[in-house]
């Protein structure tokens, strides 16, 4: 039992009893949003931490949200089936776009910009296919809720935010576990190796394309689940809020702010960015229009310059520096940062 473990335990307990603390629905709403986004950001960081900086996750989120809602609205298929379908679709798209990218060694800025185009294509498609998707007006999953029916498990619709909260806590914890599994796997070393010297990694037996595709598909699938859950929770999706460049950038920035090399970094990113935007909008935003966006931009700049590993990355760095000299003995490296 070490200090970080204790902190994590206490943190988890705090999360679990959170709804019982009597906060208003708004606070609960923000908490739920943080967890959904935290999950999505965690999904992004699974590939982002290895230098696969995707600006295209808006596409996967859009696919998740729209596939599930379209299946429900047009075919009456429950989201419980819709979500796996969305995962498969987004995984397929990830492979479709990822395979050539990785085969042809599209990395760095190029990869970022190709994926940026992908997220834009998905957004444009949703808009252009307005007869099916509802276009940029967005669409609401057909509601099963009435004043009498507060819970429709079949439709994955719940009037009570507390239900949502726990459902999403489970999903979020699942995301963290996936993150950890990847972190502790040999795949992580392979990806680190690839991100440095992909030729050398290949000649040492690492299936470069396969390894990259694996993390990409995991990441895309998580994002799609996030998008689907987001749509179910908000009971409304539109192309701007679930896909396109803006969302993709939002995802990247939040992860950078929180720290993508630490398990809880992406969640931290969600906490920081959501609280920051909410606070800024409610304080300066109402008096001086534009100032909040300005401050937000400036904070991002400062984060990247002074805390390139994110807030949590920075904290753990300071922490581990204080723990110096590092214990020796076991030769096996401790996974994780």
């Amino acid at each position: 039992m070490n200090v970080p473990m204790i902190l994590k335990g206490v943190g988890l307990l705090a999360v679990l009893i959170f709804p019982a603390l009597g906060f208003s629905d708004y606070v609960l709403h923000i908490a739920i949003s943080i967890l959904i986004w935290g999950f999505i950001y965690t999904g992004w960081s699974i590939m982002g931490r290895f230098g696969l900086v995707s600006l295209g996750h808006g596409a996967f989120m859009g696919i998740g949200a729209y596939v599930v809602t379209m299946l429900w609205n047009h075919a009456g298929i429950t989201p419980w089936i819709g979500i796996p379908v969305a995962v498969v679709v987004s995984g397929a798209v990830a492979i479709f776009i990822g395979f050539p990218c990785f085969r042809f060694r599209i990395t760095g800025h190029y990869f970022a910009l190709v994926t940026l185009a992908l997220s834009e294509v998905v957004r444009l498609l949703i808009v252009a296919l307005r007869d099916t998707t509802g276009g940029s007006l967005g669409v609401t999953p057909r509601s099963e809720l009435t004043p009498e029916v507060a819970v429709s498990f079949y439709a994955m619709q719940f009037a009570d935010k507390t239900v949502w909260f726990y459902l999403i806590v489970v999903i979020w914890l699942g995301g963290l576990l996936i993150w950890r599994a990847v972190d502790r796997s040999m795949l992580r070393y392979a990806m680190e190796a690839i991100s440095q010297e992909d030729d050398a990694a290949a000649s040492l037996g690492v299936h470069v394309t396969r390894a990259k595709l694996t993390v990409t598909v995991i990441s895309a699938a998580m994002t799609a689940v996030g998008g689907a859950v987001y749509g179910q929770y908000q009971l409304y999706i539109n192309p701007e809020t679930t896909s396109g460049i803006a969302i993709s950038l939002q995802i990247v920035f939040a992860v950078i702010a929180g720290g993508m090399f630490v398990q809880l970094g992406p969640t931290m990113g969600a906490v920081i960015t959501l609280l920051l935007t909410e606070t800024l909008r409610q304080t300066v935003g109402h008096d001086v229009y534009g100032l909040d966006v300005m401050v937000y931009g400036a904070m991002l700049v400062l984060f990247i310059i002074y805390m390139p590993r994110g807030v949590l990355g920075w904290i753990t760095e300071v922490w581990s520096r204080r723990q110096e000299p590092r214990p020796t003995g076991t030769v096996k490296p401790q996974p994780g940062e």
Partner: protein, 258 residues
């Protein structure tokens, strides 16, 4: 006995330029073959072709009777061929041990446990005399250390054939001798067959069984070190005035071993 590796008619063109021109050679199991030649004569390109990093324009490569021409680097590795890079390419974000462990885990042709991978990695580090601080970052290794790391990683994949590209570059003369001894040891103890590219003739000639000399992508000479050292063509394009010293040295070796 049929040769372990057979290279036939191997050709590589870059645009209009022919870097490797219809070369052919055989390699017997347990041999150390020296691949030498002037700068730009196609040595590294040949390695890249065998290791799958480049696809041949023509020709074939056969390992232990199976055609491996045009396989991807990963597949070639799994067939038992490992290579080092002339300019070291360490994974800078990983520790020394992790660098080698990746190779051990993924380089193995079958699924091995992670513990097994760590063990193989430690083993390879020991063999290359790198085991002093396996948890160090590779940045601290220095030129000689990086060369050793290249070897350690290659060995961790449990190859039967090792392609070593200028493993001595940047070492001082004493370190060179040590490294050369290491290659002989590897061959003797593990039975690993080696092709070795090097410009430091004094050291290379001491260790190799045979030499192949490339110039402008073509083989201009092949044979025992003492024959190659006397070959006028090789002297002209490659050895220059070093030839004399080399001839006496090689002669000494032949005499010594006889």
């Amino acid at each position: 006995m049929s040769a372990m590796l057979q290279v036939r008619d191997l050709t590589k063109k870059f645009g209009g330029f022919t870097a490797v021109d219809r070369i052919e050679f055989d390699l017997n199991e347990g041999e150390i073959l020296g691949l030498i030649g002037p700068n730009g004569s196609g040595k590294s390109t040949t390695f890249n072709l065998i290791a799958g990093a480049l696809t041949p324009t023509a020709g074939s490569i056969t390992l232990e009777g199976r055609d491996i021409t045009g396989l991807a680097p990963t597949q070639v590795c799994h067939k038992g061929i490992a290579r080092t890079y002339q300019i070291p390419r360490p994974f800078r974000k990983l520790t020394v041990l992790e660098n080698v462990a990746v190779a051990a885990y993924y380089g193995a042709n079958q699924l091995i446990s992670r513990d097994e991978a760590w063990r193989l990695a430690e083993d390879a580090l020991e063999l290359t005399q790198l085991s002093s601080d396996p948890r160090a970052r590779v940045d601290g290794l220095g030129a000689a250390g990086l060369k050793k790391l290249e070897l350690a990683r290659a060995l961790a994949t449990q190859p039967r054939l090792l392609l070593a590209d200028e493993s001595l570059g940047g070492l001082d003369e004493k370190e060179m001798d040590q490294a050369a001894d290491m290659l002989s040891d590897i061959r003797r103890e593990r039975g690993i067959t080696i092709i070795w590219v090097e410009h430091i003739m004094g050291v290379l000639m001491r260790v190799v069984d045979r030499c192949v000399v490339l110039d402008h992508g073509e083989i201009i000479a092949a044979g025992l070190p003492q024959d190659v050292a006397h070959d006028p063509k090789v002297i002209e394009v490659y050895l220059g005035s070093d030839a004399e010293a080399l001839q006496t040295q090689v002669a000494g070796r032949v005499a010594g071993s006889a």
